[in-house]
C-alpha cells in the first residue's frame, strides 16, 4: 500500500517535514506544497535529509507554490515538479493521503 504525504510548512518554521521524513514508509511519496516547497531547495540545512529520504521515497513539489516563492532554479535534482492536475493525479495514484500540517 502506498501513501501520499503532503507537507505545507517550511522546514525552517515547523518540524512537520522532519516528522514526515521520519515516519513515512519506504516507497511512499511526499508532495511539498505551500511553504513546504522551501524543503525542495538545494543547499539548505535540510537538503541532506531530503536527499537521504529520496533514496527510498519519491519527492514532488507543487510548481505553482515554487514559482510564488521564487525558488525555481534552486530545486534539488530528483524532485519532480507537478501542477494542480498532477497533485490530483498523485492523490488518485496512492491509496491514502496524509496531510502534515
Amino acid at each position: 500500500m502506498s501513501m501520499l504525504h503532503t507537507v505545507n510548512k517550511s522546514p525552517f518554521e515547523k518540524d512537520s517535514m522532519n516528522s514526515c521524513l521520519r515516519l513515512s514508509a519506504d516507497g511512499s511519496s511526499i508532495l511539498l506544497i505551500e511553504d513546504g516547497v522551501f524543503a525542495a531547495q538545494e543547499g539548505t540545512v535540510v537538503s541532506d535529509s531530503v536527499k537521504e529520504a529520496m533514496k527510498s521515497k519519491k519527492v514532488y513539489a507543487l510548481q505553482e507554490d515554487i514559482n510564488a516563492r521564487g525558488v525555481q532554479g534552486k530545486v534539488m535534482d530528483g524532485i519532480e515538479l507537478v501542477d494542480y492536475a498532477g497533485f490530483v493525479k498523485l492523490v488518485t495514484e496512492h491509496d491514502k493521503v496524509q496531510s502534515w500540517v
Binding site: N8, I33, D65, V88, K89, T92, S99
Partner: protein, 130 residues
Amino acid sequence: MKLSIQVNEGPYQHQATDSAYNFTKAAIEAGHEIFRVFFYHDGVNNGTRYTTPPQDDRNIVDRWSELSAEHDLDLVLCVAAAQRRGLVDEGEQERNKKDGNNIAPGFRISGLGQLIEAGIQSDRLVVFGD
C-alpha cells in the same frame, strides 16, 4: 474517482483555502466526482456571504459558491465550529433565536457525521489546513 476535501482554515488567513479551491477545481476538471467539501474549525469562515474583499482581490467565498452552482458541490460547514464563529443559516437562526443569517449560497450547516460519511463514502479524503 470519488474525492472529498476538508478545509480547516479561514479565507485570507492562510493559503490552505486557496490550495483547497485549486485542488477541488483541478479534480473536477480531471473528471473526478467531489462527494463533499467539509469546512471545519476556522474553515467555516469560508461560508459567510457578507465577505466583501477589495475589488482587486479574489472573492474566496463567491468562488466556492460559484463552483458549487456550476458543479452541484456539497459545501458543508461544521455546526459546532459555525456556532462558535457566528455562521448562521435559516435553521440555526430560528433555533438559536438570532436576528439574521449570513450563510453564502451553496453552503449548508451540518454535523461532524458529514465528515465521517465523506471519509467512508469517498475513495480519498484530502485535508488542507494550517
